[in-house]
């Protein structure tokens, strides 16, 4: 098991390394200013963010002023959106009544392109952090909500009947039966929402009143057509996304251990 895990991890890195080498070669041959080679991008990233003093973990001021606020926004937005998605998803998934009342409105809101609502958000929340958080939450809540609702609706009927027969209280039913059996699907939604929150964080930094952030740096680079700058931002987002995803998977493995173990029964 463990050794197999190590081997796949090594394999993944080898694949990645090969791809980066290919990318480097291809961009060098093509020589397009739009596609700088990865080495250029990395140099730029280093100069921009990671050439700081050791006591600041090598972060430059630019990094501290942009990356950290971005991550903070993202984390807060993700937490809020995920919580709202889980709560609403459970409500909609469990109560036919709540579903009926909310379904139409939620589906309506889900389809709305947030950029069209910037003015409304602005009027409601004002500039800056509050608006950005609202924006992130509004965008990421849907995958969590839909997947949670779906999961809550498809709890094994015999589990519900068992709970009912033993007269579990509403809270116990929810906490010990419905939520655990919804978890696998909920996690699919959360994982989507996590990467989405990174994306929407960038979007939110295009909003009026933004003065820092990774997204802000990307747009800034974009408006002056600083291609290595854009690429540096893109790669940083990729790396962050990758790391966050790995973190997420660790959490998932802890929470869904039973699920994975039970699934491994079948030889792949």
């Amino acid at each position: 098991m463990r050794r197999g895990g190590l081997r796949t991890a090594a394999f993944r890195w080898v694949v990645l390394l090969v791809l980066v080498v290919v990318w480097e070669a291809a961009t060098r041959v093509a020589g397009s200013t739009f596609f700088p080679p990865p080495s250029t991008i990395v140099t730029r990233m280093h100069a921009m963010w990671f050439s700081g003093p050791p006591d600041a973990l090598f972060l430059t001021d630019t990094a501290v002023e942009n990356i950290l606020p971005s991550l903070g926004r993202m984390a807060a937005g993700f937490a809020g959106g995920a919580l709202a998605g889980v709560v609403l998803g459970l409500a909609v998934g469990l109560s036919a009544r709540a579903y009926d009342y909310l379904d139409g409105v939620l589906q309506f809101l889900r389809a709305i392109p947030p950029p069209a609502l910037v003015t409304v958000f602005l009027v409601l929340f004002g500039f800056g952090l509050r608006m950005q958080l609202a924006f992130i939450m509004f965008s990421i809540v849907w995958p969590v909500l839909l997947n949670t609702a779906d999961g809550a609706r498809s709890v094994e009927p015999l589990h519900l009947q068992t709970s009912q027969a033993f007269r579990l209280s509403r809270a116990e039913l929810l906490l010990r039966v419905v939520v655990p059996s919804t978890l696998p699907k909920m996690f699919a939604g959360l994982r989507l929402a996590l990467s989405l929150s990174l994306i929407v964080m960038v979007f939110s930094e295009l909003l009026p009143g933004t003065t820092n952030g990774i997204g802000f740096q990307i747009t800034d680079a974009y408006s002056t057509f600083d291609l290595p700058g854009i690429w540096a931002g893109i790669v940083l987002l990729g790396v962050l996304g990758y790391l966050l995803n790995e973190l997420f998977l660790v959490a998932e493995r802890r929470v869904l251990g039973w699920h994975h173990a039970a699934q491994q029964l079948a030889v792949p």
């Binding site: 394999f11 993944r12 694949v15 990645l16 739009f34 596609f35 469990l94 036919a96 009544r97 009342y101 379904d103 139409g104 409105v105 589906q107 309506f108 889900r110 389809a111 709305i112 392109p113 950029p115 069209a116 003015t119 409601l124 839909l146 997947n147 498809s154 709890v155 009927p157 709970s163 009912q164 007269r167 209280s169 509403r170 039913l173 696998p184 996690f187 699919a188 989507l192 990467s195 990174l198 994306i199 929407v200 979007f203 295009l206 997204g215 747009t219 854009i230 893109i234 987002l237 990729g238 790396v239 996304g241 990758y242 966050l244 790995e246 699920h259 039970a262 699934q263 029964l265 792949p268």
Partner: protein, 289 residues
């Protein structure tokens, strides 16, 4: 102790417990009329909220016009051939984007979810690509494949790929191993097991992914049009309404209204299709087919 004892005797609490258990087992589904009137009530309440916010001056009506005004404007837009042209263009981009995304993501998800070696090889690449925002990609995509419909469709595909991909992968993981073993024991190969067991059994979850993606695709279509659209599209319509002085908020929100309504209709259709295709799933769960 006493409190706990009281709690157990409290008929009110007991009643609640029963209600919740009943709801969960869906013993008594409400009639269709009740359900639709509830939906209507929900929508009306939402509209009333907007109406009130505007009328009472809670929010400056210049920036959030009352619901009646928005809907009124939305209705008159229907008679505007220019708007219909915009709508049609967006619809096309949406449909193409979603279709292509599904055609790529489902097979890819099946592949990643069932062949560990490919999963291992692709995982890191996928995870690096996933968090790249489409806005950041616009100039690059525009440079490589040009602007116009293909730009929108590419971005829509890129964004709506993920919900389907992830839901397919997670769906595969939830397949009962014993069901797979059953088929395997009859000598069926991995492909047959995939197609005959894993796919149907995770199909309800995959379609949830498609439903999610349908919403994402819609958002991306219109957003891309707002940010970088040329020519036609609801997003272009919204963009131009926004740069007028003063901004034509009623137009913007009327456009939003139609987008939202379209989202509701698409979702309802997909849910109906799901219920039809996966009757076994819903019937088994005790829902009325």
């Amino acid at each position: 102790m006493a409190v706990q004892g009281d709690r157990r005797e409290d008929p009110h609490v007991a009643h609640h417990v029963r209600v919740s258990a009943q709801t969960l087992s869906r013993a008594r589904p409400a009639s269709t009329t009740t359900r639709w009137s509830r939906r209507a009530a929900g929508a009306l309440a939402f509209a009333a909220l907007i109406e009130l916010a505007g009328r009472t001056g809670l929010i400056d009506a210049e920036f959030l016009p009352p619901a009646t005004e928005i809907v009124g404007r939305a209705v008159t837009l229907l008679a505007d051939p220019a708007f219909l042209g915009h709508a049609l263009t967006s619809l096309l981009a949406w449909a193409m984007g979603l279709g292509i995304a599904a055609a790529i993501a489902v097979p890819l998800g099946l592949l990643l979810g069932s062949v560990p070696i490919i999963d291992a090889a692709m995982r890191s690449v996928v995870e690096f690509l996933r968090p790249i925002p489409s806005v950041a990609l616009i100039p690059l995509v525009a440079l490589v494949i040009g602007t116009g419909l293909q730009l929108r469709v590419t971005l829509v595909v890129y964004a709506s790929l993920w919900p389907i991909l992830y839901n397919t992968m997670y769906g595969l993981r939830g397949v009962d191993p014993l069901a797979k073993e059953s088929l395997r024991s009859y000598g069926f190969g991995p492909l047959a097991v995939l197609l005959r067991v894993s796919l149907p059994s995770s199909a309800p979850f995959i379609t949830t992914g498609i439903r999610l993606a349908a919403g994402v695709a819609l958002i991306l279509t219109v957003s891309t049009e707002i940010v970088a659209g040329r020519g036609e599209g609801i997003g272009v319509f919204i963009f131009f309404a926004g740069i007028a002085v003063p901004a034509r908020m009623a137009d913007i929100l009327a456009g939003v209204f139609w987008v939202g309504l379209f989202g509701v209709v698409v979702n309802a259709l997909l849910v109906a299709a799901e219920r039809r295709a996966f009757r076994w799933h819903h019937a088994q769960l005790g829902e009325r087919p």
